[in-house]
Amino acid sequence: MPINTDIEAVDDIFQEGKVVDGFTLGKEVHRGGMASLFSATKDGIEVPILLKIPRVGRDQPVESLIGFETELTILRSLKSPYVPKFLGAGNMATHPYIAMERVEGRPLEDLIKEGKVFTIDEVVQIGADLAQAVQSLHSQDAIHLDIKPENILIDDKGKLTLIDFGLSHHARYPDLLAEEMRKGIGSAPYISPEQVAGVRSDSRSDIYSIGVIMYELLTGELPFGNPQTMSGLRKRMWAEPFPPRAIRREIPRWLQEVVLRCLEPRAADRYQSATQLRQVLRDPEGVRITERGERVEPPSFWENLKGMFKAAGYEPSPSPRPSMGNYDAPLMIAAIDTRQSDEELRERMQSTAKNLLQAYPESRLICLSTIASTPTYEGNHESETASGIVRGHLVQLMDWAKPLKLPPERISYHVLEAMDPAARIVEFAKDNDASLILIGASHKLPNKVTPWRTSMTKIVEEAPCSVHIVRT
């Protein structure tokens, strides 16, 4: 890969006392395998500054550069009280650096190394704060993917800051580490089973890591050790960790329940959002204690064997978008009969839809129409082909919705092919978790029972949600 590794002068550029892009370099405060850190000052910037300079050059691993690029992309986009503020960056080819706020605090890692014994309350507090910090990333479509004690700073007042986004993922930026040959990049004790399998887009991976950290702070041990081999890393896909209460008896059952649930091999079995995790840590009363919380014996040989067989077919759960969770965004369906020509009803349906949409600013509307079936042969004219017919109906739906003047993200259009329109509409509403179906009932229809009328009664009877009937 044509990365320019010919930047030997970096060590000359970044030295105490030198000025780079207006940043006056202070002392080198840390030198790691991937990067050096310098304190710095700049006119107009009040907060203490840290410059992070990647270790580049001929003898340096390419990863340090990709990690640097990833961190630059993600840190620049994040706005969070739990993340250092981004203050600038240097040209990657000539003098690469990231300038960020120098945050007060010591790495949690130092406290662990000093042998500090954390009280139950302290661990619960750290877990809840971590969940909150992680949630602020997830709500911005970012996933940290390298949550470990080294990357968590805690200041005197106990405030947390997450650092090092070199392995992070952001749903709205290209993932430079995607399809990396090496699976399971990250810190062996803390990465989730799906990360071991190479998945980088699941926000619940961070919840797993919080579980590992809470386990470690409570018991002084790592749930799956610090494996150095792939098979060692894979153990977390099947093994049950030693129950924390078997190590430290004073741990309440509810807390063991919470920690072990975070450590579930399948992401779908864990807490589904960091907010949910924070909630249970702050309100233990609400925790339903299952067998997880009761465990005191280490898992038996047979249980482990069962788990091993299960893990042979380990499939990571599908990952929802990090910011998913639009509970207060109801979805409404307007079932529009494109065949009927009652102008008055049309207008009334439009105004009803408009009013409902105004009442719920986060709501979305789907305009639906059904067609009996599309021809299986492809005609000579596009208007005779299946896609042509569907498109023709779409145009009518869009025309219907035009007066609502909704931005595209709040409206979509579907033409459903169905022999039984009512059943199909009901099914569609179920599949999409709709909150409301809007249908029109015209008095101008002839008295005989028309298909649309029977459809309407069927929708009313079978819909999984409310049905709003608009009459003229």
Binding site: T73, A178, R391, G392
Partner: protein, 229 residues
Amino acid sequence: MSRAEELGVTRMAFLGDIVGYNADPAGVIERIADLVAAKKAVALLGNHDEAIFKDCSKQMNPNANAAIEWTKTQLNNSHIEFLKNLPLLINEENICFVHASAHNPADWNYVTDSMSAWHCAQSSGKSYTFVGHAHEQALFYQSAVGKLIRFAPHPGDEIPVLPHRQWVGVVGSLGQPRDGNPEACFAIFEPESEVLTFHRTPYDHFSAADKVRRAGLPEELANRLITGK
């Protein structure tokens, strides 16, 4: 264009298919020709532009052919001359502009997947290659193993695109997006800060579709503008 100017764009690249679907081909050509003459823009040849002066009817669907035949009736010799003189590919310092793909540009290959993007990037040899042709916005980027990976950009997000890796930006179409969203597609590249931002901007696609209909172009083409499909 006015949206792009609002955003501070100083130079534009029209990545081909200047004519072929729209209801005012002469007007579009004149406007672009003026910008090119004033060195405010570059313009490239697309397959629909080529069809105006070359028989390509076998490669196109009946609607596109009907539109080409109609477009021909709307253009004078100087318009056609302008199209004939459009380059297939423009290379700049570390940027390549091309309508379809830098890999055999005259074959109008689509850049839609990893492999086609790789061919394109290999042939251009530049850090940045910008293409049109395919109607959906995408950014292909070179991964650690050299492979090009597809990324679906989110409109309005500034994506850092550092020049030490290769990028192929499929900017999408101004006039006929096909991802179900009728808003016009374009992208802005800022060489100094090395960021690329994909954009979608609403325009009066209902009246554009109306013009298409009134011009007597196939109804389907108007419907495509409205539905974005």
